[in-house]
Symmetry: C2
Subunit: 479 residues, 2 copies
């Protein structure tokens, strides 16, 4: 599987100098954006070179056997090309061309044909009808059609992160990467699986157990093999977040015209997810907004939450949302209330704790009191950033969370643009709405409960995804 | 009521030069930000001038009877001040001080006392425990504590708009105005009602029927008089959007410590809202994100929606969301499908209509075909902005919507920062997620149905809130 993400040599079949040629966009990205240092070959009818990469008119002519073939030609040519790959000894193929099982009977027949050829020759296949792979650490990407709006993807390669995505649709890949760019956590690997004729989401969940991945985000339009997926998820020691289209009959039908899935029964899927510890996402945005609760904060090990706010209104809102999310507004003990009273400037020493104008030390004292309290499992701090020192307090809060191994889901009631700017500048895991912050706590607790049920907690510190402290400090990959 | 928003003279009781004095922030805003041209007086114990506004040591000393008194002193002094106001003939008072019924028995007694004095003397009172009023067209605002983060409020006064807000909490006022700054629609008036001892949400709904308001946004922590509110809403010819805290027992309790409301039964409230045509908001963000579907688009008069996308994935997602929101994925007629086929470059001529790379004219042809189709009530265009011409197409779409009197809820699947920038630069009503766009359609249709039920459709064009075309073209207020 590694060769899909870190090939030492690649052939792009279908790359040419014809205007609007899609294969050439892959060559351009490898050369100009990524400065990829492996060998790259172009195959096209004229055998012409593309952006300096040598060109050949057929795969058998290549001077070596590349680790990976990326195919982006009209669907009808693909079966012949797979045969050529087999003959040349190529064992990893990404088929980006569309026009297979998502496009009617002829396409279906062709997909069966390439499947048979690949199986007979021990070829692992990604796609067809997909965007390919990206690995930030290996500085490799074979997405086609990268355009100016994605140039900012450079950021992805400069600051590799710990989320890996398995995404059935190219459009969702682009949206998610773009959104993540404005969020906190970086990308490890991305793979678009399209019609997933061979490699599917279950294979990839398994693969992501052994690399730098801390959180696995998945977007599915259909389930290839439900039993296999659930088995892979059940064994996963990393949170598996899934958004699935097709909750309704109409949604399933629309998805079918896109990546050729069968309609799956959504209720059964939902129950299976709960069994396997899969976290089902409520919106596509959660693919980029939720992972930070796992990567930046300890897991939430119980349901008792203390809310803390310097703008009273949000206390009521957060109490509503916490209860609706299945969490509890903790009843603070008399001792805790007594400590809060001594801090001074506290309007309300019961939960939600509400303060007026106060110096930074007041904030820190309250964080300490609440997170050290035995009855409190986690914190929901809702702090309007009307004074810059609030940011320093939040940075300090991160340390207190680590000390007590309890999470805080931070929300700063400001216009989203301002919150996004503060988050980026100060590397603070700030959520964008009260709803999102509460949801993050709920998901963290659900995940912790599923680890317990699956006997996967072990004796490791349950910080972040529960396993990542080692490679973070050494910069090395887990094995 | 007009005097609360457009007084010709004001006294700020409690404004002084003491450090951190809150009343002085009101004087500073009137003078330095708003260049308010009425008379302003400060009342404080020393009788000192504040930022050039003449100071007096008591209300009876004032050289005239001001239209409005803004009171921001310790709660225990307020009853005496109200008596002074009565003696001086002041008939409109904003009490911004906290420490009344939200703060225990003594506060409750004081609130009853000021209520009695005001009633006996025919004084209309806003608050206590509130932030006051803002009127963009009159360039008036008596909020206290305006700080650098609100300087951008200047924008509010430079581009008056058509949303008026009734908000029980100061914190929510600040968040909503800040968020609206990055959204499309401008503000008309804002009023924070706090403990609403006298003037309440129902009075204000009635008042907003007669000014430039097109949409009324309300944030409530409790209901003062349910029957009165529902009666005012039922008669409203402008959409009334309400977010209410206290859906759960815990939320209601938390709200009580903030603005002193009684817990209200949420289910009864919900049913009453449906009866009265009130649109209940699902999140605070909807206070700023939803109004544009009313101000920028015709109402949705039926439930049959066509989705259109240039990134297949979003077709499936939107079908799911539309059906879950109670709308329908329209089954396109054979004639409509035939027309779409003739356009070319259409992957899927059934709903969701999905296209690949195509020139601008293709987009415009499809918009025209779908919006002119008798079976289509509204459009959900989900267009990735990967080519600048998409923006021109969307601007053209606005005109087509107006021609056929059918709305489109636009979503451009891009990172939120990019969508926000495009929206502002091109004045396009772009929603921030698929969920938000679908929700806007659903709300528009619900509102139209309630107008029908309440016999309020009349024979006016149902563009925007159904009443606003006149003053938009002439720039004048409706009477």
């Amino acid at each position: 599987m590694e060769r899909f993400f870190d090939p030492q040599s690649v052939v792009v079949v279908g790359a040419s100098n014809t205007p609007f040629n899609l294969g050439s966009t892959i060559c351009n990205m490898l050369k100009d954006y990524l400065h990829y240092d492996g060998n790259v070959y172009a195959v096209n009818s004229k055998g012409e070179a593309v952006n300096g990469y040598p060109g050949y008119s057929s795969i058998p002519d290549l001077p070596q056997t590349p680790d990976l073939a990326v195919i982006i030609v009209a669907a009808r040519h693909v079966p012949g090309i797979i045969r050529d790959c087999a003959r040349k000894g190529i064992r990893h193929v990404v088929i980006e061309s569309a026009g297979f099982s998502e496009g009617g009977e002829i396409g279906e027949a062709m997909q069966r044909e390439i499947d048979a050829i690949a199986r007979q020759n021990g070829i692992r296949m990604l796609g067809p009808n997909c965007l390919g792979t990206l690995s930030s650490r290996n500085k490799f990407c074979c997405f086609y059609g990268v355009n100016p709006s994605l140039v900012e993807m450079n950021q992805i390669f400069e600051s590799p992160g710990s989320i890996s995505y398995i995404i059935q649709s190219g459009g969702v890949v682009v949206l998610t990467l773009e959104s993540l760019y404005y969020d906190l956590v970086g990308v490890n690997k991305v793979v678009s699986i399209g019609n997933k004729c061979d490699v599917d989401e279950a294979d990839l969940i398994e693969y992501f157990q052994k690399d730098e991945t801390e959180v696995i985000g998945i977007y599915l339009e259909n389930i290839a093999d439900g039993r296999k997926l659930m088995e892979a998820a059940r064994k996963s020691r990393k949170p598996v977040l899934v958004y699935k289209v097709g909750k309704t009959k109409e949604g399933a039908q629309a998805a079918m015209s896109h990546t050729a899935g069968m309609a799956n029964n959504d209720r059964i899927f939902d129950a299976a997810c709960r069994q396997a510890g899969i976290i089902r996402l409520q919106s596509i945005d959660e693919l980029h907004s939720l992972p930070k609760i796992f990567t930046e904060m300890p897991l939430l090990k119980g349901k008792r939450i203390a809310a803390f706010t310097n703008s009273g209104a949000f206390g009521g809102i957060s109490a509503d949302l916490l209860v609706q999310a299945g969490l509890q507004m903790v009843r603070l003990s008399p001792q805790t209330q007594e400590k809060l009273k001594k801090v001074g400037q506290v309007f309300n020493i019961k939960n939600p704790v509400d303060i007026g104008p106060a110096p930074p030390q007041t904030y820190l004292d309250i964080f300490e009191i609440l997170l050290s309290a035995e009855e409190v499992d986690g914190l929901l701090p809702l702090l309007s950033v009307w004074q810059p020192f609030v940011i320093d307090c939040l940075l300090e809060l991160m340390k207190i969370c680590k000390r007590y191994e309890k999470p805080a889901a931070i929300y700063t009631p400001n216009a989203i643009s301002k919150s996004v700017a503060i988050r980026a500048r100060h590397r603070l895991p700030i959520f964008e709405t009260t709803e999102q912050a509460v949801r993050a706590l709920s998901v963290s607790q659900t995940y912790f409960a599923s680890l317990l049920k699956r006997n996967l907690t072990g004796d490791r510190p349950l910080w972040g995804a529960g396993l990542n402290t080692d490679h973070r400090s050494t910069g090395e990959a887990l094995s």
